[in-house]
């Protein structure tokens, strides 16, 4: 059977995982736009979304939507606490120091999750049944459709937040021109604080969406975080549209590559693409507002 016959099914698988990468990448970008910080605990927000929902659903026996809602609120709260306890005290330190601090926070969050909720992987029930749908000869899980639709809704919400609200514009202003923002009376610390909340909420939402398909364990945030970061850089560091494009490109390329190479090299593909992009187009596909084009 020809390799090309696999393509539609691989494409569908790639789009689902691409949507998740896009959401994680968006989390990275939201914080980066407000403060230029790379938050390496972004993957942990995704993991916590899944794990905390599991706890409220299976252990506390709350209804599914309520469990998910509480989990998102808790993760947003964790995002705020992380800003206050890790990022704010280091606000005058260099970006590298902040990056290391978020890496530390990531290890802390994953270990604490293992301690509190156990180390075995967890799954959530799919939103609407497990019977695969047949679309144009391709089998698709209903949950994958949920992932795509929800990602789309969230993207629209984030677009409206950053382009149509004063808060979103203030967040962007504090990143693109910190001095100008200061002069206009925008509290940059407050903006970063809020960005951490939004980013944690997006992460938790992504976690709840994917746990029915991919399972979640205390350590699963690290790889997702890394892939999300690659997606954000791939699309153009600091751009929402770049993060979305990067996520889908990475998911689809990773999946399609398997038609031609053995599965063992799947992760290497992601990092290989990143290296190539950084070499030939360091600003990412759509270009990065944080990089001065004259340098390249």
């Amino acid at each position: 059977m020809s390799t090309w016959t696999y393509i539609p099914q691989l494409l569908s698988s790639g789009i689902t995982i691409g949507a998740i990468y896009a959401l994680v990448a968006l989390g990275f970008v939201t914080i980066a736009r407000a403060s230029q910080i790379i938050n390496f605990a972004q993957g942990e927000f995704v993991m916590l979304g899944g794990v905390i929902t599991f706890f409220f659903l299976k252990v506390m026996n709350l209804p599914y939507p309520l469990a998910a809602f509480i989990a998102i609120l808790i993760v947003i709260l964790i995002g705020f606490v992380m800003h206050l306890s890790v990022v704010y005290p280091l606000r005058k330190a260099s970006i590298v120091i902040l990056l290391m601090a978020t890496l530390g926070a990531s290890i802390f969050l994953s270990s604490t999750s293992g301690l509190l909720f156990g180390t075995l992987p967890k799954t959530l029930p799919p939103f609407s049944g497990e019977r695969p749908l047949q679309l144009l000869g391709v089998s698709v899980l209903p949950q994958s459709v949920w992932v795509l639709i929800s990602t789309l809704i969230l993207l629209i919400f984030l677009y409206l937040l950053s382009h149509r609200t004063l808060l979103g514009k203030a967040m962007e202003a504090s990143s693109t021109d910190p001095l100008g923002a200061d002069l206009l009376g925008i509290s940059r610390n407050l903006m970063v604080f809020l960005a951490f909340g939004v980013s944690a909420g997006v992460g938790a939402f992504a976690g709840i969406l994917i746990t029915p398909v991919f399972f979640t364990s205390y350590s699963s945030g690290t790889l997702l975080g890394l892939k999300g970061f690659i997606a954000a850089v791939l699309g153009g560091w600091g751009k929402n549209s770049g993060a979305i494009l990067g996520g889908f490109v990475l998911g689809i390329v990773e999946s399609l590559s398997l038609a031609f190479i053995p599965a063992g090299y799947k992760d290497a593909i992601a990092f290989g693409i990143l290296l190539l992009i950084l070499h030939f187009r360091p600003k990412g596909i759509l270009g990065s507002p944080f990089m001065d084009s004259r340098r390249w």
Binding site: Q9, L10, V213, F215, S217, P262
Partner: protein, 395 residues
């Protein structure tokens, strides 16, 4: 009369002291070091091991220990770290009162602890010796508790023959245990006239989606008219494979490894796990063992005690932990009071016909694996539960 009363009192006091537990405690303790991953990915599994070991040791000590000597377990967390594993092992070997060391759990940590055990001449009991290459070293001081990859593969070939599967496609994980299981399954299966295809596509224990690999295998399943698909793996990839395979519309029966015999695997896979069959240890189905099974009462009793104390029933891991302590107890008894590291090792090596949760253990100088194919049962997942299945001539 006045003189007799105090005399009787003193004699009674002496007698009471002699038979009381306090007197038992005065005898030296038999110390066993436990070097396990109490933190890290195996934390939940090792918690079960710890609880089950403590439960069994408490029972033994309550019964008076071994001729009045109680067993004491000394736990050290190796944190899933090679350096700490080696440090713990060295610490245990330096304490001359420690007779043997149990653990570690993880593949790559075992090689180190076994090497230290050989050098320092101390028994090292490995609960899950999952790396066949290390197991094949046949070290003098290392003893294995869980079933070997050879007997697991033999049992699965029996299951395949009983189901009249002629062609089986194996999808192995890229880990030493899975590769070895796949190769032994192929070897034993082909000896019995089956056709076994080991897929060139593999998966990693960390893979969260196997759809891409399975898409490439689907045409092989259809073209070769495969009778069964063997998900040769352990941990979460098992349910992921089953889910992804069913999503792709593949209805071929799925065979699993003994690592499928845990409750969390069914919880993760849900409906997709229905109908999956595999060979596993007897503690998976304690209440479904034959009435005349020599280890049925041991399983039922331990299952009951675990439920009473921890609220969770027996599983394969808890069974291994029970068997470890039971084997240590049995070997210590046969030391006849002269307990040294060397005498204990020899006694453990001479274990013959010792009944345990997982089956009947027989160690010898050439066999430190203990169990045989007969100590496993066939399991089918049905209605979200493990159901024992039997086939005449295969058991």
């Amino acid at each position: 009369m006045k003189k007799i009363v105090p005399l009787i009192s003193v004699l009674t006091l002496i007698l009471m002291t002699w038979v009381s537990p306090a007197y038992v405690a005065e005898k030296s303790l038999y110390k066993i070091g436990v070097n396990l991953e109490f933190t890290g990915p195996w934390a939940e599994v090792t918690k079960t091991v710890r609880n089950a070991m403590v439960l069994e040791v408490e029972r033994i000590n309550k019964m008076g220990g071994i001729d009045g000597h109680s067993i004491e377990l000394l736990f050290e967390d190796n944190g899933f770290d090679l350096g700490r594993t080696a440090a713990n092992m060295t610490k245990f070997t330096k304490d001359k009162q420690i007779i043997a060391v149990v653990g570690p759990f993880e593949d790559n940590l075992q090689a180190t602890s076994r090497a230290i055990a050989e050098r320092e001449k101390i028994t090292n009991i490995i609960i899950c010796p999952s790396n066949p290459m290390v197991r094949a070293l046949k070290q003098k001081w290392a003893f294995n508790i869980a079933q070997s990859d050879i007997i697991v593969s033999q049992k699965l070939v029996d299951l395949s023959l009983a189901r009249k599967y002629k062609k089986v496609l194996v999808f192995p994980a890229a880990i030493p245990l899975a590769k070895s299981l796949a190769e032994f399954y192929k070897r034993f299966g082909e000896e019995k006239g089956m056709k076994i295809i080991i897929s060139q596509e593999t998966h990693k224990p960390t893979d969260i989606d196997m759809t891409p690999q399975l898409i490439k295998l689907k045409p092989i399943i259809e073209k070769e008219k495969i009778d069964a698909f063997y998900a040769c793996t352990a941990g979460p990839p098992g349910p992921i494979i089953c889910k992804n395979l069913r999503t792709l519309g593949v209805k071929t029966p799925i065979l699993g490894t003994h690592a499928f015999g845990f409750g969390f695997i069914i919880a993760l896979g849900g409906e997709a796990m229905e109908g999956v069959e595999f060979g596993a240890g007897k503690p998976v189905v304690p209440d479904q063992l034959d009435e005349n099974d020599p280890v049925r009462t041991i399983n039922l009793d331990f299952d009951k005690r675990m439920r009473e104390r921890d609220g969770v029933g027996l599983d394969q891991i808890a069974g291994h932990a029970h068997d470890t302590i039971s084997l240590i107890y049995d070997a210590l008894k046969r030391c006849q009071g002269k307990v040294t590291r060397a005498i204990f090792r020899d006694a453990l090596e001479n274990t013959k016909g010792h009944k345990n949760c997982h089956g009947i253990y027989n160690y010898s100088p050439t066999d430190h694996d203990g169990l045989s194919k007969k100590d496993m049962v066939f399991i089918r997942i049905e209605g979200g539960k493990f159901k024992r299945i039997k086939f005449p001539g295969f058991e």
